[in-house]
C-alpha cells in the first residue's frame, strides 16, 4: 500500500467514526450534569466561583506586585487546568473503556480523542467564564487576541501528546495515574499561577521559563490578555517545539503498542 493509499484509508476511517466521536463526547458531558438542577451552567459557574475564592485569598498577598490580579490568575489557571484536565482524562480514557475494546470492534483512537474533545468543550466554557471576568474587571481585549488561537493550538498539541503517553503508560502500569496526580500537584506549584514569577530565586525562574511547558502557554495568554502585547517569540517557539515533540512522541509510542494493548486493558 502506498503512502497516499494509507492516508486516504485513514481519512475515510476518520470520517466514518466522527459521529461516534461526537456521541462519546456528548455522553461524557451529559452524564456529568444529568442529575443537577443548573446543569451546564455549572461549567461556567464552577471556574468563576473557584476564581473568586482564589482571588480573595491571594490578592491580599500579592496585591502589590501584580496588576489586575483576577485576570492574571484566571488566564493562568485556565491554561494550566486545560493541560492537566486533558492529560488526566486521556490517561484514563483507554483503560476505562477496556470492556468496550474487548467486546466490540471499535478503533481505539476514539477514546483518547473523545477525552481530548471533552476537555476542549470544557475549555470553551472556561473561556466564557474568562470573558465574564474580563468584562467585570474592565479589561478590554486588544488586537493581539488574534494570536490566542495559535497559542491554544500549541497547547492542544502538547496536552494531546502528553495525554497519549500517559494513556499508554497506564495500560502497562496502573500506577501511572497515582504518580501523575502527585506530579500534577508539584507542577501546579512550580507554575506561577497565583504568584508572580519574580518572587522565585533567579535559578528557579530560569528553569521554569525554559523547562516548564505549561508556563509557555500561561505566559503567552497573559501577554495577550493582560499586557496587550504579542506573545514573546521565544515562548511561541518553545511552545511549538514542545507541542511537536510531545505530539510526535505520543503518536509514535501509541502506534507501536496499539496492536498488543488489547492484551493488557
Amino acid at each position: 500500500m502506498t503512502f497516499a493509499d494509507k492516508c486516504r484509508l485513514t481519512w475515510k476511517n476518520g470520517i466514518r467514526y466522527l459521529p461516534l466521536l461526537k456521541n462519546l463526547v456528548a455522553r461524557e458531558l451529559k452524564k456529568k450534569y444529568r442529575q443537577s438542577v443548573l446543569g451546564y451552567v455549572w461549567c461556567v459557574l464552577n471556574p468563576l466561583l473557584v476564581m473568586i475564592i482564589m482571588n480573595l485569598v491571594f490578592s491580599r498577598i500579592f496585591h502589590n506586585s501584580i496588576e489586575n490580579f483576577p485576570v492574571y490568575l484566571f488566564a493562568g489557571r485556565m491554561m494550566f487546568s486545560f493541560i492537566t484536565d486533558c492529560s488526566n482524562l486521556m490517561l484514563h480514557s483507554i483503560v476505562i473503556n477496556g470492556q468496550l475494546m474487548r467486546k466490540t470492534r471499535i478503533p481505539y483512537y476514539v477514546f483518547p480523542l473523545s477525552a481530548m474533545g471533552c476537555s476542549a468543550v470544557n475549555f470553551l466554557f472556561q473561556l466564557i467564564a474568562f470573558i465574564i471576568v474580563l468584562i467585570f474587571t474592565g479589561t478590554w481585549p486588544s488586537i493581539h487576541t488574534i494570536a490566542f488561537p495559535l497559542v491554544c493550538l500549541e497547547m492542544f498539541g502538547f496536552s494531546f501528546g502528553l495525554g497519549l503517553l500517559l494513556a499508554v503508560s497506564e495500560i502497562y502500569a496502573r500506577d501511572t495515574n497515582y504518580l501523575f496526580a502527585v506530579f500534577t500537584t508539584a507542577w501546579m506549584y512550580l507554575t506561577p499561577l497565583f504568584y508572580p514569577i519574580s518572587v522565585l530565586p533567579e535559578l528557579m525562574q530560569k528553569l521554569i521559563t525554559w523547562l516548564n511547558p505549561a508556563y509557555y502557554y500561561v505566559n503567552m495568554a497573559r501577554s495577550i490578555f493582560l499586557d496587550h502585547t504579542w506573545p514573546a517569540l521565544e515562548m511561541l517557539l518553545r511552545g511549538g517545539i514542545a507541542a511537536a515533540l510531545f505530539a510526535g512522541l505520543g503518536l509514535v509510542v501509541y502506534s507501536r503498542v496499539k496492536k498488543q494493548m488489547i492484551l493488557y486493558v
Partner: protein, 243 residues
C-alpha cells in the same frame, strides 16, 4: 471465484498469562532488571483452519474455555492471530456478550444510537431503523430509562435488536439467547432465519444442541483450543452428544 467470506488458515492465539496479570511498576522494573522474561504461554487456539462461505450458518460447540469466544473475537478483529492468517471480507456485527457496548448510565434511546454507531451504522441509518429496533425489543415504554435499571432480558432484547439491524455481512451471536424467555428466543431465531434468507452469514455459539440444530448447517466442535471435529450439523452433534 472465491466466495469464502471468512478464511482462517492455521491460526493460533496466544495469551501470555504472566502479562495478563496486573503488574505494578515495581514488578515491571524488577523484571526488567533481572531480565526475567518468565513467559507463561497459553494457547487459546491452536492451528485452527476454517472456511466459511457467504450465507452459511455455522454453529460452534465445545465446553467452557474451549476457545469458541476467542475464535469469534478473531473473526471480529478484536484479537489478531499470533500465527497464521485470518481474512474476513465483509462487515461484522458482533454480539459477544449481553449488553456489550452499552453504557448503563445512559438511557435506552441514547444507547441505541451509541451502539448503532459502534457497529458502524451511519447516523441516518440509526434514525431510519430506530423504530424497528424499538419495536423488536418491545421497550417503547422504557426508552428514556437508564439501561442500568433494565432487566437482563431487556438488555438482551435491545442488544440483539441493534446488532441485527446493522445488516452486516456477518452476524456473530455468542450465547446471547440464553437470557431471554422462550418467546423471545423464538423471536430471535426467526429474525436470524430472516437474515440468513437475506444472505447474511451467521456464526452462532450455543450450549443448546437444539438451537444449533435448528439454526446451523455446519458445526465446528472445539476442545482445548483445537478442532475436535468439523462438518455437517447432524454428524458433529451426534458425536458431541456421545461423549
Amino acid at each position: 471465484m472465491n466466495d469464502n467470506i471468512i478464511m482462517i488458515r492455521d491460526a493460533s492465539v496466544r495469551f501470555n498469562l504472566a502479562m495478563q496479570r496486573q503488574m505494578s511498576m515495581k514488578d515491571q522494573v524488577m523484571r526488567l532488571i533481572r531480565k526475567d522474561r518468565r513467559i507463561q504461554e497459553f494457547f487459546a487456539l491452536k492451528h485452527i483452519n476454517l472456511q466459511v462461505r457467504r450465507g452459511e450458518s455455522w454453529g460452534f460447540i465445545g465446553r467452557n474455555g474451549s476457545g469458541k469466544s476467542t475464535l469469534l473475537k478473531l473473526v471480529t478483529g478484536i484479537l489478531s492471530p499470533y500465527e497464521g492468517e485470518v481474512a474476513v471480507s465483509g462487515t461484522v456485527a458482533p454480539l459477544l456478550e449481553l449488553g456489550a457496548g452499552f453504557d448503563i448510565e445512559l438511557t435506552g434511546r441514547e444507547n441505541i444510537v451509541m451502539n448503532g454507531l459502534i457497529l458502524g451504522m451511519t447516523e441516518k441509518q440509526v434514525r431510519d431503523r430506530f423504530d424497528d429496533i424499538v419495536g423488536f425489543s418491545e421497550l417503547e415504554k422504557f426508552l428514556d430509562v437508564p439501561v442500568k435499571n433494565y432487566s437482563s432480558g431487556m438488555r438482551a432484547r435491545l442488544g440483539f435488536a441493534v446488532a441485527t439491524s446493522a445488516r452486516a455481512d456477518i452476524l456473530i451471536a455468542d450465547e446471547v439467547l440464553s437470557t431471554g424467555d422462550h418467546r423471545f428466543q423464538q423471536k430471535c431465531e426467526n429474525r436470524m432465519q430472516d437474515l440468513l434468507d437475506g444472505g447474511t452469514t451467521l456464526l452462532f455459539v450455543s450450549h443448546s444442541a437444539d438451537a444449533v440444530r435448528r439454526m446451523c448447517q455446519k458445526v465446528m466442535w472445539l476442545d482445548h483450543g483445537e478442532t475436535q471435529m468439523i462438518g455437517n450439523t447432524e454428524e458433529v452433534l451426534a458425536a458431541y452428544e456421545n461423549v
